[in-house]
């Protein structure tokens, strides 16, 4: 499944990186401590986090995440979206908390 389809099916708002929403999502990861995410996330992951600092873009690019999904209605910093735009990293916003969104993503066959 590509990022755009996931966004459409789960009604996630796309706030940056629209050029790259045809990326394939291969797996998922949930984490808010970037040291942990850097160590464990796999390439092609849809990454769910409530961390909104601009460092999330660098971590996602470094680890070749498919997209970042900011959950729980948290709002990303302006700098984060600017950086994501520059790096072509899709940033999606979800109202659901990470757990609820994980369940929905798993129901779509990504786990």
């Amino acid at each position: 499944m590509i990022v755009k389809e996931l966004a459409d099916r789960l009604e996630l708002e796309i706030h940056a990186g629209k050029e790259s929403i045809d990326r394939e999502i291969l797996c998922g990861y949930t984490g808010d401590l970037l040291s942990d995410v850097m160590a464990r996330i796999r390439p092609g992951a849809a990454w769910l986090t409530i961390q909104t600092h601009q460092n999330i873009v660098a971590v996602a690019v470094l680890r070749e995440a498919a997209c970042i999904i900011i959950t729980g209605g948290h709002v990303p910093d302006k700098e984060t979206l600017e950086r994501a735009e520059k790096e072509d990293m899709p940033v999606l916003l979800a109202k659901e908390n990470s757990f609820d969104l994980c369940v929905k993503i798993a129901e779509l066959g990504i786990f």
Partner: protein, 227 residues
């Protein structure tokens, strides 16, 4: 830890300057400064701010009033109330170790300020901003954000004694950018001076310390290594 106990420990450890850095509050710094009057120890009013990213940031101020103003700004964003039965009492003490009040907000919670906003606010109040215990696995800039972001204007980073297995001077901290100091991060009296930084300064004023920090005129010591 109480003001009198802190000063006694600092005296027996021969410290010249200490900084009082409660979580998200500066309301005990004045009492410690008063308790230090006979000792000759300089007490810096500070705070360990928990930013929105849950990064711990040490803020040091020239005047108590600036630290208290920072505390007000931080506490306006703390929505949770303390529950003493779960989190313990958050007491405010006078210089004789008498409890004069309690902090109402839950001080371990995160403020609304981002790391960048907190550094900017500290600087606008003339303070020094140091990323706390960067070697620790929790609440450090490295654990929360993976790496130290560029251009946020930190004046320093702080290592804790836990990073070291041996006592003595540690030169490996000499070439970091920003400068890296070592301090005890003492949460109990017994930890005071477990790690410390010796600054090369003319006097024990805040400005002399700021200069020694930016000019890297200091050395870091571990007295009691971590576990």
């Amino acid at each position: 830890m109480t003001p009198v106990k802190i000063i006694k420990a600092a005296e027996s450890e021969n410290l010249n300057i200490i900084a009082v850095c409660d979580h998200n509050s500066a309301k005990n710094a004045g009492a410690v400064a008063k308790a230090a009057r006979q000792s000759g120890i300089t007490v810096i009013a500070g705070m360990e701010i928990c930013t929105r990213e849950e990064v711990h940031l040490v803020a040091l101020f020239k005047c108590l009033c600036d630290a208290l103003e920072m505390g007000d700004i931080i506490q306006r964003g703390l929505s949770e109330k303390n529950h003493p039965d779960i989190f313990g009492y958050q007491v405010i003490s006078d210089e004789n170790d008498m409890v004069t009040g309690q902090e109402d907000r839950l001080l371990i919670s995160a403020s609304l300020l981002s790391l960048e906003q907190a550094v900017q606010k500290i600087h606008s109040l003339g303070g020094i901003a140091v990323a706390a215990h960067v070697d620790r696995p929790v609440f450090s800039i490295v654990s929360q954000l993976g790496f130290i972001p560029d251009h946020i204007g930190l004046d320093g980073i702080e290592m804790s004694r836990h990073a070291f297995g041996t006592t003595g001077v540690h030169n490996l901290l000499d070439n970091t950018d920003p400068p890296c100091i070592l301090s005890s991060d003492a949460h109990f009296s017994r930890d005071i001076a477990a790690g410390y930084t010796v600054f090369d300064m003319r006097d024990t004023s805040f400005e002399s310390m700021r200069n020694a920090l930016s000019e890297r005129k200091f050395r870091c010591f571990v007295k009691r290594p971590g576990y």
